[in-house]
Symmetry: C2
Subunit: 335 residues, 2 copies
């Protein structure tokens, strides 16, 4: 009998396969979205119904406290960021906490405090939720589902265009590297980059019409985001290894473990596809807001049809190779 | 160290305690709802933002297939019903599936088919979601979170009024009794009552203004719903044991197990608090739609202040006793 594998949750090829086979293929086209909206017809960070943006994610992480954050901070930031990446201003969240019997109440206390302190900081309401307990013989730890609700008159539906510049808003691979260090027992001073990216809305407003796609590169990392964009658009995306900002602390962890920083999760970094004539201005604006942005590549119309939907990385030594959609097991487990 | 107990998930007193201590008490009042909405400031089946109704629940059940349904049917019906109980017409759902490594793909196939067949039947869209895999040493089975989105210009915010009649739309205790039979190894022909209650919207529209509260009596059963209403309103609710429709098959299971049918979950029964002068008409309308309604009690202003917020049940032998908010362990586990 065929069974679920860890790789089916990698956020890459294998997850796409499962979703396609068990969900998307069973749904008629008209039930993939609402009349005035965007939904599973066009995979993005969230769904659109009129001027409402809605996103949901189930969060699980082991350990649930880590340098720089907790599952509480992760769950709320992640959902806020999904709403923001759709161009939505987050106004409310709902949370469903599923916790194992025996879970320490002190830990639950810290986790809910982390969640609520972000909501307070950004004036976002918690308007509903659920709380369930599972027997300890069926589950360990905690799973937190969050639903984000935002408002936008001009949602950003990811559509990269020929000629676009690709920008990342900060250093790549940090959250995944922290989790790898914990799981492999590697000493590091690195802290997770998990944080809400609400400030980006200022940039999205200022450069409205020039931000053609925005996504937080979480599970599957930069590689998954770029590959999804290339697949959706049928364009080719070229990135330059030398321009991708990977901190030395991340490199020292990926060197030891053999992991690829480009598939490591980020929890506080956005990837943007923008009009190339505005790219430098957008970078300057991002810097003013405290981001550390880099232009890492561009979107092109491939001359060879076989290259449609591919992501090509030009390596530091000058060669070029395909940056694949992540597949197989996720190492480290970050979700 | 204090730890989470199974009883903290009972949907009654113990869940109220945890939510109050770890979430509600940390949230400032203005962050319990949006400006034009209803949220945690007033606990109900879902939240309201303008004309949008939003509800979320995390569903877990062991076994995940049971007579009359599956966790898939349960998750989608439950969320649809929460939207309907707020007076909302469901237009879309989002789903997050968290599944353990090793979960049989054939079972996943049946579960997603159950979900999608309900959506097709009622023309509801699936507009987004999430899919995660947890290692088999951390979890068994499957957890499905569903988010329901509905539209209503006149949401039903539960406010029972003095003189209201209490109606149940069908036989009580069936889903919980089926789960008890499975868990205790009792032979029964009973099938879960799990189903969407969308047809009720016709009644809510026809008797708009006379339906003062509506809730599906799931976890914690009829006892939890009536106690929440009594607590929220400060009224007293009187119900008559002889008028509460409990099927013989349910009784034969509760007789053997010692369970109280009034705390058993229902997954396809609504409880309504309605203007008493319209109660008979509403019952007739419900019958036309195929429901098996009963008027089981009334809302009164207690003469004695100590009785505010109490639910009193008049037993078949003529005595009266307090019907308590469920507390302690849920038996059987239904969520």
């Amino acid at each position: 009998m065929d069974r679920i594998l860890i790789s089916h949750g990698n956020g890459g090829k294998d997850t796409q396969y499962i979703l396609q086979k068990y969900i998307f293929s069973k749904l008629p086209e008209n039930l993939k979205k609402t009349e005035n909206g965007v939904g599973l017809d066009y995979p993005d960070d969230g769904a659109v119904i009129g001027e409402i943006i809605i996103s949901t994610d189930s969060h699980t992480i082991d350990p649930y406290f880590f340098p720089g954050g907790s599952i509480g901070k992760l769950a709320v930031s992640g959902t806020i960021n999904d709403v923001v990446m759709m161009g939505g201003r987050p106004i409310a969240i709902l949370d469903s906490i599923v916790v194992a019997e025996g879970f320490p109440l002190d830990d639950l206390d810290k986790i809910t405090s982390d969640m609520i302190s972000i909501l307070k900081e950004h004036n976002i309401s918690l308007i509903g939720g659920d709380f369930k307990v599972i027997p300890s013989n069926s589950m360990k730890g905690i799973v937190i589902n969050t639903v984000g609700i935002g408002l936008s008159k001009n949602p950003i539906i990811d559509r990269v265009r020929e000629g676009d510049s690709i920008i990342v808003t900060g250093p790549i691979g940090v959250h995944g590297a922290v989790m790898a260090a914990l799981q492999y027992g590697i000493d590091t001073k690195l802290k997770s980059d998990v944080k809400p990216l609400i400030k980006l809305l200022d940039v999205f407003e200022k450069f409205q019409g020039d931000i053609h796609a925005a996504r937080d590169a979480t599970r599957g990392g930069l590689a998954a985001t770029l590959n999804e964009w290339a697949q959706l658009s049928g364009k080719m995306i070229n990135v330059y290894e030398k321009d991708i900002p990977i901190p030395d602390e991340v490199k020292s962890i990926t060197d030891v473990t053999g992991l690829d920083p480009l598939v490591l999760a980020n929890e506080g970094v956005a990837v943007l596809s923008v009009s190339s004539d505005k790219a430098e201005q957008i970078v300057e604006e991002l810097k003013k807001l405290g981001f550390e942005p880099s232009i890492i590549g561009k979107v092109i119309e491939p001359k060879n049809k076989d290259n449609k939907g591919l992501v090509i990385i030009t390596t530091e030594v000058g060669g070029a190779k395909i940056l694949e959609m992540p597949s197989g097991d996720i190492v480290p487990r970050i979700c």
